[in-house]
């Protein structure tokens, strides 16, 4: 009965947003075909997940806390609530080129419910994120089904987001963006020591997809030694597809290696590859150390240019460095202390992690206009930066 109620809510919500017919068909199929199997999925334990995060690099410092509380209500239902903050202090190359450094804060609230039915977990959630010039709302629904004796888990998800884009100092500026995510994942046990995951995600956007503050530049027709700025102009739709595969292997001693590969392509002409390798090593019963290497590379969007030859030279204009040809390398390291079956009152499990990641980004066709020295337009040094990401996480199961 409760499942029916959840589904009806979902149908109402999704129909309201004209969800694709195929997704509902898949849901029904999944529920129908995968249910008659013995074993039992479980809901996550009640827990509090606290995180302090800090990003420092490229002129940006972003930090803040995140707190998530999960509480079961009976054997089949589990609620979550999360509060997340980004405190931003911005003086990046984009900001310095055309504006002044600023600070702002983004607050995010999420509510979710998970419903366990046989070997399936249905999840429904809502997230609101707000800044002084941007408001984002997202609803999501997912169903995760175990089958084949618990060796396979299929997860299907759908999310829909509505963003309101504003602009500080211009009360008349108001734009909207709409986003839909379709996710399909398979997690497969291969052997007693290995696990394989395959994910597919299609995202489609519609509306105002650019950053209202960013600008692009073109050669000054009256002075070949300088350039002028003009507003960005992006397409109003974007569809992207990503496919990822990840494998985990348990080594002959208590340690694991993980490999991941992701391919990404979108309707703006961007192709990207991500490769990651990670190693987790248990020192003893409670301490583990981890290390990882990640490499990312992308081709620029078709309409991207660091420097246009003249004003309004094409329909779509962008000099957003995230759309340029770039590569990124991350070196990650971490230490985890886990205490199962604690003797602390009311706490069943405690896990503390300290994680440090060093990121480096190199741009192939984005030049640093703030570089000191006399450079002709288009001859400035290519931009690059690095950043340090720190995460301190405490998870308490109660």
């Amino acid at each position: 009965m409760a499942l029916r109620a959840v589904l009806e809510v979902v149908v109402a919500v999704t129909e309201a947003r004209r969800i694709h017919y195929g997704l509902a068909l898949l849901l029904a199929l999944l529920l129908a075909l995968a249910a008659p199997l013995v074993s039992a999925a479980t809901l996550p334990e009640d827990n509090v997940d606290m995180l302090y995060h800090r990003y420092d690099g490229g002129g940006m410092v972003i930090d803040g806390p995140s707190v998530l509380v999960r509480k079961n209500a009976g054997p089949q239902v589990s609620f979550t609530g999360q509060y997340y903050v980004d405190s931003v202090s911005a003086a990046s190359v984009d900001v310095l080129a055309t504006a002044s450094p600023y600070t702002e804060e983004r607050d995010e609230y999420s509510l979710g419910v998970d419903y366990l039915h046989e070997d399936a977990i249905l999840s429904l959630g809502y997230t609101n994120s707000s800044e002084n010039d941007y408001e984002a709302n997202t609803v999501y629904f997912s169903v995760s089904q175990e089958f084949f004796g618990g060796m396979s888990t299929v997860t299907m998800g759908y999310a829909n987001g509505w963003d309101d884009v504003g602009r500080v100092g211009n009360d008349n500026f108001s734009e909207e963006a709409d986003r839909r995510n379709y996710q399909l994942g398979l997690s497969q046990v291969l052997t007693r020591n290995s696990l394989l995951g395959i994910d597919l995600e299609v995202v489609s956007d519609e509306g105002f997809l650019q950053n209202p503050y960013r600008q692009n530049r073109y050669r000054d027709p009256n002075d070949s030694t300088s350039f002028l700025y003009q507003p960005e102009r992006y397409p109003e739709t974007r569809t992207s597809t990503s496919v990822a595969t990840r494998a985990l292997y348990y080594l002959p001693y208590r340690a694991s290696i993980r490999g991941e590969y992701r391919y990404f392509t979108d309707s703006w002409g961007i192709d990207a590859h991500t490769v990651e390798l990670a190693y987790v090593h248990a020192l003893n019963n409670r301490w583990t150390l981890e290390g990882s290497v990640r490499y990312y590379t992308q081709e620029a969007a078709d309409f991207y240019s660091d420097l246009y030859e003249f004003e309004n030279s094409q329909t779509h204009l962008a000099r957003d460095k995230e759309l340029s040809t770039l590569s990124g390398t991350t070196l990650g390291t971490g230490a985890v202390y886990e205490w199962k079956q604690t003797s602390l009152p009311g706490i069943k499990r405690l896990q503390f992690s300290l994680l440090l990641d060093w990121l480096n980004f190199e741009y192939d066709d984005f030049r640093d206009v703030t570089a000191k020295g006399d450079f002709l337009p288009g001859e400035e040094p290519l931009y690059s930066f690095d950043a340090l990401v720190t995460r301190a996480s405490l998870i308490l199961e109660y």
Binding site: E146, G149, L195
Partner: protein
């Protein structure tokens, strides 16, 4: 684009279902053989929200998005 992808999804799910439900292949890793799979060193989402946070870090600086595998786990370990 979207139509094609959903057809792909449908095909994939159907293949999975048919191999799971209508064949003689039995699950070869038994529920009592999952010590190692249940070990936290084999978790794809051990750090909870700290893992999700990294996805945000990358999404803000790279064009690629999606398939981050946030759902994690799935070893059927109970």
């Amino acid at each position: 684009m979207r139509g094609v992808s959903l057809t792909m999804l449908l095909g994939l799910v159907l293949v999975l279902m048919s191999t799971a439900g209508c064949s003689d292949i039995k699950p070869w890793v038994k529920p009592y053989e999952r010590d190692k799979l249940a070990d936290p060193v084999m978790s794809l989402s051990r750090h909870g929200k700290a893992d999700v946070y990294m996805h945000h870090v990358y999404q803000a600086r790279e064009s690629a998005r999606g398939s981050e595998g946030g759902s994690g786990g799935g070893c059927g370990c109970n």
